[in-house]
C-alpha cells in the first residue's frame, strides 16, 4: 500500500505540527509510565505474598 498524498490530509500549519509533536511526546511518556506502574503493582503483590508467607502463613 502506497503512502497517501499529503494533499489528502489538508494543509497542516506549523502550530498543528507543534501540537502533534507535544501530544505524541506526552503520550509516549504516559505509556512508559505505565510500564513502571506495572512493575510497582507486581512488587505490591510480591510484598503482600511475602507478608503472608512470613507472618500469616
Amino acid at each position: 500500500m502506497s503512502q497517501p498524498e499529503p494533499a489528502a490530509a489538508g494543509q497542516v500549519t506549523a502550530q498543528q505540527t507543534q501540537v502533534f509533536e507535544d501530544e505524541v511526546r506526552d503520550a509516549i511518556r504516559y505509556e512508559r509510565g505505565l510500564a513502571i506502574r506495572c512493575v510497582a503493582c507486581i512488587l505490591l503483590v510480591a510484598v503482600i505474598l511475602a507478608l503472608r508467607v512470613y507472618f500469616f502463613g
Binding site: G10, T17, V19, A27, I28, E31, L34, C38, C41, I48
Partner: protein, 498 residues
C-alpha cells in the same frame, strides 16, 4: 484406591485447575499492558486531517442528539473537512426537528438522512448512511459513532493521525463512562471500562490484534470501508466486532488510540445493563461461530489466529463454564476426598488473590482519574462474599480469628460441622455468585428494588453478574432465540470533565 477412582479424582482436580486458567490469562493480559510502550504507532503518524464523514445512527434520540452535534462542532478539526450525517431511523420523537435545526445552524456540516421505514436495527441504519456517503468521493475517512457519545475536542485529530499510515484500516478511541451524577452501577461500568478498554486494548495492540472497535468510536479509512464491502454486517448482533475482524483479515492494522477520549452514557439499572450486555454477549457468541476458521490458526497477514489472542478471547467467552466446572468439581471432591478438595481450592484461590491484587491495583493506576471515583466498586468488583473468601485465602489466621470472635459474640461456638459447612459454601459460591447477582436483576423491578438490586450486585459481584449475562447469551443462542436490536435508553445526563 482403584485406577478408576484415581482417574476420576485427577479429572476433578484438573477441572478445578482449569478455573485458574482465565486468571493466569488475565494476568498475562495485564502484564502486556506494561509493554505497550514498545508497540506505539506514533513513528508512522503525522498531523493528518482527511475529509471525515461522521456517521450517527439515530432512533428516537431527541434527548441527546442535539448536544452530540454541538459537541462535534467543537472538535479541534478543520470544519471544512467535517460532515456529520445523522441517519434518522424513522424516529417518532423530535429527533428530525432537532437534527434539522442543527442542519440550519451548521450549513454544510450537518446532513439529515431520513429512513421512512425503520426498526431493522443499527447495522441496517448504518448501511443506509454508508451508501449515501460512499456515493460521492468527498469522504476520505469515516467515523462511525453513537448518538449519545461525546468526543473530547482533541479526540478526532488524535485518531485521524494514525491514518497517515496507509497500512492502518481503522482506529478506535478510549470510551469512558460519563453519566453524571451516575450511580453504583455506572461506577462499576466506569471501572470495568478501564479493564476492558484502556487495559485490554493496549494488551491486544501488543499482540498485534484488536478484538473490537468500540461501536461508539470507529474511524475507518475510505479504502478500508470499501475493502470490506462498503457496508457493515447485518447478520449478527456485533457488527462492530465483525468489521474489526474483517479489517484485520484483509491485512490492515487496527489501532487503539488511548489518548483520544470519548464519553458515553451507560445503563444505570441492572435491567438496562442486562439488555445491552446480552446483545453484546450474543454477538460475541455469533462472531465466535462466524470466524471459526480463524481461531488458533496463525496467518501471515494478521494475528487473529495467534494462540495468545485465542486464549484471551475464549477465556472471557467461556469464563462461566470454567467457574461452574471448578465449583462442581470442588463440591464432588469435598464429599469423596476432603483433603484433596481443600488443597485444590487453596491453589485456585491463591491464584485468585494474586490476580485480584495485581489487576485491581494496576487498573486503578492505569486511569487514576476514573479510579478516584470508582475505587470502592473496584474493590467489590468480584462481590463482597468473594472478597471475604479472598481475604481468608490470603490471611487464613486473622480471618479465622475474626470469625471465631464474631461467633462467640453471637453466642455460639464454632464446631467442626460449622467449619465444614462454611468450606462447602465457599466451593458452591464460586458459581452460585452468578445466580445471586442475577437475583439482583429480578429484585430491581420489585418492591424495595432500588435497595435490593444494588445489594445483590454488591454481594454477588459485578463480575459474576457479567458472567451470568454471558450464560444467558449461551442459552439464547442454543435456543436460537430471535436476535432483536434492543436499544439502550439514553437520557443525556452526561458530565464531561474539563
Amino acid at each position: 484406591m482403584t485406577d478408576l477412582a484415581l482417574a476420576f479424582k485427577s479429572l476433578l482436580v484438573a477441572f478445578v485447575m482449569l478455573g485458574a486458567v482465565p486468571l493466569l490469562v488475565a494476568n498475562y493480559q495485564f502484564l502486556l499492558v506494561g509493554l505497550h510502550f514498545r508497540r506505539l504507532h506514533y513513528a508512522k503518524c503525522r498531523p493528518w486531517f482527511p475529509r471525515t464523514a461522521i456517521l450517527i445512527p439515530a432512533w428516537n434520540e431527541a434527548a441527546v442528539i442535539g448536544t452530540s452535534i454541538d459537541r462535534l462542532m467543537l472538535l479541534d478539526y478543520p470544519r471544512e473537512r467535517l460532515r456529520i450525517y445523522v441517519v434518522d431511523d424513522a424516529s417518532t420523537d423530535d429527533t428530525p426537528q432537532v437534527v434539522l435545526a442543527r442542519e440550519a445552524e451548521y450549513p454544510g456540516n450537518v446532513v439529515h438522512l431520513r429512513r421512512d421505514r425503520g426498526g431493522e436495527g443499527k447495522a441496517a441504519t448504518l448501511n443506509h448512511g454508508l451508501a449515501e456517503i460512499l456515493a460521492d468521493d468527498w469522504m476520505q475517512a469515516i467515523l462511525i459513532m453513537d448518538s449519545d457519545v461525546i468526543y473530547e475536542p482533541s479526540s478526532l485529530r488524535r485518531m485521524t493521525r494514525h491514518l497517515a499510515d496507509p497500512g492502518v484500516g481503522s482506529v478506535t478511541a478510549y470510551i469512558k463512562e460519563g453519566s453524571r451524577p451516575g450511580n453504583y452501577l455506572t461506577r462499576f461500568i466506569g471501572y470495568e471500562y478501564i479493564t476492558a478498554q484502556a487495559a485490554a486494548r493496549r494488551s491486544q495492540e501488543v499482540l498485534g490484534v484488536i478484538a473490537c472497535l468500540a461501536g461508539g468510536a470507529q474511524l475507518h479509512s475510505r479504502a478500508n470501508i470499501e475493502a470490506i464491502g462498503g457496508q457493515v454486517d447485518t447478520t449478527t448482533l456485533a457488527e462492530d466486532t465483525v468489521t474489526t475482524f474483517e479489517t484485520q483479515k484483509r491485512g490492515r492494522r487496527v489501532i487503539f488510540e488511548p489518548h483520544a477520549t470519548v464519553w458515553a452514557e451507560e445503563p444505570g439499572s441492572i435491567v438496562a445493563l442486562w439488555k445491552q450486555r446480552l446483545r453484546w454477549a450474543r454477538g460475541n457468541v455469533q462472531v465466535t461461530r462466524r470466524f471459526k476458521s480463524v481461531w488458533f490458526r496463525p496467518q501471515r497477514n494478521n494475528r487473529l489466529g495467534s494462540i495468545s489472542f485465542g486464549l484471551l478471547w475464549f477465556c472471557l467467552l467461556l469464563l462461566p463454564v470454567f467457574m461452574v466446572l471448578a465449583s462442581a468439581s470442588l463440591v464432588i471432591l469435598f464429599f469423596i476426598d476432603y483433603q484433596l478438595a481443600w488443597a485444590a481450592f487453596h491453589v485456585l484461590w491463591l491464584t485468585n488473590v494474586i490476580t485480584y491484587i495485581f489487576i485491581t491495583s494496576f487498573t486503578l493506576a492505569i486511569d487514576p482519574g476514573v479510579g478516584r471515583h470508582t475505587w470502592k466498586e473496584a474493590l467489590l468488583f468480584p462481590g463482597l462474599i468473594n472478597v471475604i473468601i479472598l481475604a481468608a485465602a490470603l490471611l487464613p489466621g486473622p480471618v479465622s480469628w475474626i470469625g471465631h470472635e464474631l461467633a462467640a459474640a453471637a453466642g455460639f461456638g464454632v464446631t467442626l460441622g460449622w467449619v465444614r459447612g462454611i468450606e462447602l459454601f465457599t466451593y458452591v459460591w464460586l458459581s452460585a455468585c452468578m445466580g445471586v447477582a442475577f437475583v439482583g436483576k429480578l429484585a430491581e423491578s420489585r418492591t424495595f428494588g432500588r435497595f435490593l438490586g444494588p445489594l445483590f450486585v454488591y454481594i454477588g459481584g459485578y463480575g459474576p453478574l457479567l458472567c451470568a449475562i454471558t450464560t444467558a447469551a449461551y442459552l439464547k443462542e442454543l435456543r436460537h432465540a430471535e436476535a432483536t436490536w434492543d436499544k439502550t435508553e439514553k437520557t443525556g445526563k452526561m458530565g464531561v470533565p474539563t
